[in-house]
């Protein structure tokens, strides 16, 4: 018997708040139980003790990318419905959480999100109005976000415990490669627009553009390790500019 539309909708909506009580001990465990509650209430509506047991079962350690955890939520709801024992449920949770985290982190945090942001910053630097940039970013990004959540949740409900196998066969890794390739293109596209002073709404002369090109080379060469030196250099420069103002 499938879950009612209300229960499915309830779980899907609650999945947006799955990280609401994120903590260092159970990670998003309590959020998982909170998200599963509509299904658990329907399954154990005549037995409050079993409901509480089920909630405790799902409040333990769990983690995963928030956009892909609806897949685990759907599969766990099906396992509960099938009356799977606690040990099997625990094994399933342990098996799936690594894949959900890694895939989501690569596809969304290191792919889709920076791509949408770079695209939007590019629009801003080419003179597109601020509210158009904001609207395009939010619509574009959240189209991908919502599609991924809905796809994962439906897959979890349809496949139950075999969802992990399904996930391995999915097109997600291929999609991630495409997004990464486009991201590298956008990065290249954006660099000249930034190097001439776009972010400060200025038209800079060649020595500054040359310094920006050198900074770009160093950034591309050393990656995230340049962040701290750049932040300190920026802060130091600001301090010098202010101290000179006080002294002079």
């Amino acid at each position: 018997m499938a879950f009612s539309r209300g229960v499915r909708g309830g779980m899907f909506l609650r999945s947006f708040a799955i990280q609401g009580s994120w903590n260092y001990r159970t990670l998003l465990g309590a959020g998982l139980a909170f998200t599963l509650l509509p299904a658990l209430r329907e399954l154990y509506r005549d037995d409050p003790a079993r409901l509480d047991d089920a909630v405790r079962r799902h409040s333990g350690v769990f983690n995963g990318h928030p956009y892909l955890t609806p897949m685990a939520v759907g599969a766990l709801a099906v396992l509960e419905q099938e009356g799977a024992d606690a040990a099997l449920i625990e094994r399933f949770k342990s098996a799936i959480r690594g894949s959900l985290g890694t895939l989501g982190d690569r596809l969304i945090w290191a792919g889709w999100r920076p791509v949408c942001l770079l695209f939007s910053i590019g629009l801003l630097l080419t003179g597109v109005r601020w509210w158009v940039v904001a609207t395009i970013f939010l619509v574009l990004y959240n189209t991908g976000h919502l599609l991924l959540r809905a796809w994962g949740f439906r897959l979890g409900l349809e496949r139950g415990r075999s969802v992990a196998e399904q996930l391995r066969r999915s097109t997600v890794p291929g999609l991630q490669r495409m997004v990464s390739t486009f991201g590298a293109f956008l990065l290249g596209l954006l660099l000249p627009l930034l190097a001439v002073g776009g972010i400060a709404s200025a038209r800079l002369v060649w020595p500054w553009v040359g310094a920006a090109a050198l900074a770009a080379f160093l950034g591309a060469r050393y990656g995230e390790s340049v962040r701290r030196p750049i932040v300190f250099a920026l802060a130091g420069f600001a301090l010098v500019g202010l101290l000179l103002g006080i002294v002079i």
């Binding site: 708040a17 942001l117 939007s120 990065l187 290249g188 596209l189 000249p192 800079l204």
Partner: protein, 224 residues
């Protein structure tokens, strides 16, 4: 006063969106900065400050239990301060100071996230032997989200006020001129954008598309 209350409310929503609910990414500095600037009538300036902070935040990934600066509430504070202080000094210098302030404030915001997560641990995971039942889990989970909302509001509101005070006081002291301020900020953000290349596979794997992008960007610049 109403303006700062609006900034605090925005900060609360942005803080909530960062992790707890719904992660729709209006908490990204680019958007949060524009909204904070809008409160004081300068959305484009707010978005520019947000874009600069966004570029610094691009390479920070919220993976696993990593501890990182909270860019969203920091951007609300910095962009609101910048928009409110406009006119107190040369615009590029104020932008540079606002970005430096935002980069510092987002670290304070990040520390508040660590404290919140420890508090959440006490709230929802303290009863390891006898965890709470259905009603209690629901209540505590929603309580944690309410605390997060309050945290974001306090961080962004206080940060905005401190930032505006500092920018108004320090902006007129700027001694190095507008072009230098714009140049330094440009060099910094260009270096930071390029530092995001490893996110997409690094130069070795993506050099062809990266160079094609560079050529297209240069052509776009020449045509504009």
């Amino acid at each position: 006063m109403i303006g700062w209350l609006a900034v605090a409310l925005l900060g609360g929503l942005v803080g909530l969106d960062s992790t707890a609910f719904p992660q729709a990414m209006f908490s990204r500095p680019l958007i949060a900065g524009a909204l904070a600037g809008l409160v004081f009538g300068h959305p484009l300036d707010g978005m520019m400050a947000g874009a600069a902070l966004e570029i610094f935040a691009l390479i920070i990934l919220p993976v696993g239990a990593a501890r990182y600066p909270e860019a969203g509430t920091g951007a609300v504070a910095a962009a609101a301060a910048y928009a409110q202080a406009l006119g107190a000094g040369p615009r590029p210098a104020l932008l540079l100071l606002a970005v430096v302030f935002g980069l510092g404030w987002e670290r304070i915001a990040g520390m508040s996230v660590i404290l919140l997560r420890r508090e959440n641990e006490r709230l929802v995971a303290r009863d390891a032997r006898e965890p709470p039942g259905a009603e209690e889990v629901e209540r505590r989970h929603l309580g944690a989200m309410a605390i997060d909302l309050l945290r974001g509001a306090l961080i962004a509101g206080a940060g905005g006020l401190v930032g505006a005070f500092l920018l108004r006081a320090l902006g007129p002291l700027w001694a190095l001129g507008s072009v230098t301020a714009a140049g330094v900020l440009t060099v910094a953000v260009t270096g930071m954008v390029a530092a995001a290349l490893p996110l997409f596979g690094g130069f070795r794997d993506r050099r062809l598309v990266f160079v094609v992008g560079l050529i297209c960007g240069s052509l776009l610049l020449l045509l504009a």
